[in-house]
Symmetry: C2
Subunit: 150 residues, 2 copies
């Protein structure tokens, strides 16, 4: 069930990012073991800016755990690409939330935790994309109207 839900969330995110003008690649769905070992869930690129996403889907806000190998692979991919990595969380009945990969806490067993406190105060995906100037901000809209008006 978790797997199916995860794929649905991924598909939804792919569509959203494509509509926002990104070139989007999604990891192969088949042979999920190999896949998890090699690829991030989603890579979205716009004008040379590379965003690497690990997608999580949750029905409530709770701590999220990631295996150390998974985090290392994400880091390796991101470093090679010159991009930025994020955990992106689909919360039931809420917006997409994003947390920088580097905000994860390393636990004593080597794995990583994303605390629910961090999730609660995280940015939405739209906020992140506006901050990165990958989608227009309110100011951009105002400026554009001003130019067009005057």
């Amino acid at each position: 069930v978790g797997r199916v839900k995860g794929y649905t969330a991924e598909r939804e995110l792919v569509i959203k990012l494509w509509k926002l003008g990104f070139a989007v690649m999604r990891a192969p769905a088949s042979g999920s073991k190999i896949r998890k070992a090699k690829y991030p869930d989603i890579v979205a690129i716009k004008s040379g800016k590379v965003l690497v996403f690990e997608v999580k889907s949750r029905s409530k806000v709770e701590n999220i755990y990631l295996r150390s190998e998974q985090v290392e692979k994400l880091r390796e991919f991101t470093e090679r690409s010159g991009g930025q990595a994020y955990i992106v969380i689909k919360l039931l009945g809420s917006d997409w939330r994003v947390i920088e990969l580097e905000c994860l806490e390393k636990m004593s067993n080597g794995n990583y935790r994303l605390s629910k406190e961090l999730i609660l105060k995280s940015k939405t995906l739209d906020e992140l994309l506006r901050n990165l100037r990958l989608i227009p901000s309110l100011e951009d809209f105002i400026k554009r109207s001003t130019y067009e008006g005057g």
Copy 2:
């Protein structure tokens, strides 16, 4: 058979690009119809430079044909990403050869042709990557030795 051969070539190219330091994404292998419609075969990224590859595998040099929708999808993805698109050809017993997507000839039926003449005078993948400064050139090696020596 063509399909299996194609996948083998793709896997080989993924491994080669990864060894050269690229972050590499390969399109989902399952549901090949959806896949062909949406994703390029391989996207390789290094330090924000995005290379979009359509992979072909041939036992001899011959004209290669691409459907117009396929070329349009490649262009759309490439434009969004801010990258460069190439047809990359695995010729049996030879190096990988690359041709810029824009070198394809549009035929009267709307589809595209890559002539065998263009394939014969095409660059190798290594030449392309050196030209783009994505892998070190001979000059880079000489410079490096000079610095290290002096």
